[in-house]
């Protein structure tokens, strides 16, 4: 499968704490992307990390990529109630039509 698989499936934390979500995949990739989905809405792109990058930051987000382990993590620091959403990773497999394959996501709940 070319899908990303997120772990954990659900995560509940207190506001102000850090949230870490993990993603594993099985194929060689060009890049890996993380998306966020608020309930009932479309997905919104958060960050793209290329296969030759190991870490990338965007505001309170930090993404790491370990291509040897075929894994990535998304860290949200100093979480806020507004961060409550589902988070998806999407590897862009090196073979095929360069489509993204989304997993089932991690449902993050940040308790005020």
């Amino acid at each position: 499968s070319q899908q990303g698989e997120e772990d954990p499936q659900a995560l509940s934390i207190q506001e102000g704490e850090n949230a870490t979500m993990n993603c594993s995949y099985k194929t060689s990739i060009n890049n890996l992307q993380w998306y966020r989905q608020n309930s009932g809405r479309g997905l919104v792109h958060l960050i793209l990390i290329r296969s030759n990058e190991r870490e990338k930051h965007s505001g309170r987000l930090r993404v790491t990529l370990d291509t040897s382990k075929k894994s990535s993590s998304l860290l949200i620091t100093a979480s806020r109630a507004a961060d409550t959403a589902s988070y998806f990773c999407a590897p862009d497999a090196r073979t095929g039509a360069n489509n993204l394959f989304f997993g089932t996501g991690t449902r993050l709940t940040v308790i005020p």
Partner: protein, 112 residues
Amino acid sequence: IAGITQAPTSQILAAGRRMTLRCTQDMRHNAMYWYRQDLGLGLRLIHYSNTAGTTGKGEVPDGYSVSRANTDDFPLTLASAVPSQTSVYFCASSDRPGDIQYFGAGTRLSVL
């Protein structure tokens, strides 16, 4: 800036009926995609188009057809709807395959 527009927002459809979900983008993106999202299964790619005039099959293409007559529009047609096609459908676009995808707000379809 409209981005990706999907219509209708929601629809209840009798089994056996034909239905076309509309998707229009104003970003002049080359690639467009249709996904379905079901609880516990994440987003699954139905069909894609890497450029106007071309289409390809995704993970779950059966029962669906698409066309890409121009850059902006990418309609998804259910020729004869079945209850298993009850889902939330998302259209997305990207400048090129593998790039950041921009999603519409989704169409919630119920087939009875």
